[in-house]
């Protein structure tokens, strides 16, 4: 499982802004709206993919992200 946590739209992202400001000096033109976030990789044992997704979504909302300022997206990367 993969959980991507990103700042909600409208929440200032000083890290993203700093990265964006550095890009022209490196010769990258036309790159904008740089946003930073965190990615988490987890293995969840479950009877079903839906069950695993439910667990991931729950912990992504309760712990991995702060819903006041962040969004969390859950992706199933693979099933073993």
């Amino acid at each position: 499982m993969r959980v991507d946590v990103t700042l909600k739209r409208g929440i200032a992202d000083p890290e993203g802004a700093t990265i964006e400001r550095a890009l022209p000096a490196l010769g990258y033109a036309g790159v904008h709206s740089v946003r930073t976030g965190k990615a988490f990789a987890l293995v969840i044992q479950s009877d079903s993919e839906a069950g695993a997704r439910e667990v991931a979504t729950s912990l992504a909302t309760r712990l991995l992200s702060n819903p006041v300022i962040e969004d969390a997206a859950v992706t199933v990367v693979g099933v073993a």
Partner: protein
């Protein structure tokens, strides 16, 4: 005399300053380990500054699940004074005991400097002894102290007189220059500046006194109310 519990999370580092400050002001304060689940013996509680659980994930994100937090919520619900300073403020927002969140400072700089605060409300357990509009010099010491919340929350905070302290010169990008807020009842307060480090003019400022004296008076009131309830 009231008893104030000062919670120690793994990684807290201002707990002794808080106990020292409250004791200097004539209060009775004791350290309480975060694994404690019963705070019934305390009239008030302080969540001190530091880096609870290493600030891993986000400041306060793991501390909010510490065993003690259920008891902190119960104390808050009972109307007793609860104060979160710096990291403690971050823990209170993560725990949902105060609205909004603390984001990285605008400019991504760790800020360690005196700031001038303006008392925006005296309706809280921290600011009850101060005067509205009074300016207080209190140091800040944080990386994630920029207060953020959505429009509806901000309007509600202002409408219900929950903004208790504002920065005169906003150092970190906080919405509305907010340095500290209270819950609607005024008994739960969080602020980024450190009043426990502003007790002596010789060491920079004594302006933290009026805040912590107010908090101790609120703790004494809570103790008095409990004594009345306990009396046959």
């Amino acid at each position: 005399m009231s008893r104030v519990g000062v919670v120690v999370f793994p990684g807290s580092n201002c707990e002794h300053d808080v106990v020292g400050a409250l004791t200097t002001l004539g209060g009775r304060a004791e350290l309480v380990w975060h694994a404690e689940t019963d705070l019934a013996a305390y009239d008030a509680v302080v969540l001190p500054g530091g880096f609870a659980h290493g600030d891993y994930l986000r400041p306060g994100a793991i501390a909010r699940f510490s065993p003690v937090m259920g008891a902190v919520a119960a104390l808050a619900e009972a109307g007793r004074p609860v104060l979160g300073i710096c990291n403690g403020f971050q823990v209170l927002t993560e725990a949902g005991l105060l609205p909004g969140a603390l984001q990285k400072n605008r400019g991504l700089t760790f800020l360690c400097q005196p700031t001038t605060l303006v008392v925006a409300s005296t309706r809280s357990v921290l600011t009850r002894a101060a005067a509205l509009g009074q300016e207080l010099v209190v140091p800040i010491n944080h990386f994630s102290g920029s207060y953020v919340c959505d429009d509806a929350t901000y309007l509600a905070l202002v409408e219900r007189d929950q903004v208790v302290l504002r920065y005169r010169d906003n150092p970190n990008g906080s919405r509305g220059d907010i340095a500290g807020i209270a819950n609607e009842a005024g008994n739960v307060v969080g602020l980024m500046p450190h009043p426990e480090r502003a007790l002596s003019a010789l060491l920079g400022s004594a302006d933290g006194r009026v805040l912590l004296e107010g908090f101790l008076a609120a703790a004494d009131d809570a103790a008095g109310a409990r004594a009345l309830v306990a009396a046959p």
